[in-house]
Point group: C2
Chain length 196, copies 2
């Protein structure tokens, strides 16, 4: 009656609802509750629409949006890893296993596209993935700045760690980088970041 | 030091965080909590990526994603209106006032694009807006189906109201419409929708 492919797509869409229950470390601005992956993925996607004009190189915005909307799906099975966590190896292993499980839920062609987008996002070598990573990292930075330090304070993150984490912005947009630089120094001055 | 435009964009992005606190009537699947506008906007945007291949006419997916990611922004000031609410006039009035306030936060060019996308979404005359509205309406339908009736049961919604609400799918995709039709009849058979 219905194509197998469509039924798989519907089941996949229902499975994705779990993104609304994967909590991140960052709080919603002004609230005492953590944001989840669905909220975060939405926010960075709208940010991409608003900030695309500031990139140094012209980018394919459709590809960026597809990347941002789907790059955290692996966390449905791998969970969220705190961005200042140093155990990158374990994160990578968990996420690769999660990707296998996740992309098997849709047909091969769709799985290949989603997997390629995720690999490109992770590799950070193209203008699109550098800009997408910039959005992914700028959003919690803005939240921490507005939340009186947020996870910077809670987990005693150093200024040099913040700079390392936000580095993709430097490669993606001179104008955004200039603003990010100002914001981090201002946060340090104000005591929102306490270690050098 | 920074362009006025960039500073406005950053403030706008921070204001958008409020979408994470605008609650809708529909519950997250399997949970006793309502989903919010940010989660909903993310979910329908990923749905658009997954289901775009089923439309009758070829569509501009970038435009669809921009529409879906931003069409609910007016609710930051207008609040969520239940989709089966009959008082459409009051909703329209509140949302028009909200749009004035919201789009004044960014520069004219960006405001014009966002406003045009919203107007197109609301008018439901183009293939893109018909597909976007289909996603916006199919997502809570799937959630109700999985939530043992959800808002259909809670607010005693009739089958004919469900059909009226989901009508854009009929114009957008024969294949999706066939599935939606099956799902609504199945929900009625199972008593998830109790009135004709």
């Amino acid at each position: 009656m219905f194509r197998e492919k469509l039924l798989k797509d519907i089941e996949f869409i229902i499975e994705l609802d779990k993104m609304k229950s994967i909590y991140r470390k960052t709080n919603v601005i002004g609230e005492d509750r953590q944001e989840d992956d669905a909220q975060h993925s939405w926010h960075i996607s709208v940010m991409a629409i608003i900030l695309a004009e500031y990139t140094n190189e012209k980018i394919d915005l459709l590809k960026v949006l597809k990347m941002l909307l789907t790059h955290d799906l692996v966390e449905i099975y791998a969970g969220d890893t705190f961005c200042y966590d140093k155990d990158i190896e374990s994160k990578r292993k968990r996420e690769l296993a999660a990707a296998e499980k996740l992309y098997n839920l849709v047909d091969r062609k769709k799985a290949d596209e989603l997997r390629a987008l995720w690999d490109e996002f992770e590799a950070m070598e193209t203008p699109e993935s550098l800009f997408a990573n910039s959005m992914d990292r700028l959003q919690p930075l803005l939240a921490n700045y507005k939340n009186g330090g947020g996870t910077w304070k809670k987990y005693d993150v150093s200024k040099s760690d913040v700079y390392q984490r936000i580095a993709p912005v430097k490669q993606s947009s001179d104008e955004l980088w200039c603003y990010v630089n100002y914001m981090i120094e201002d946060a340090f001055q104000k005591g929102l970041i306490t270690r050098r």
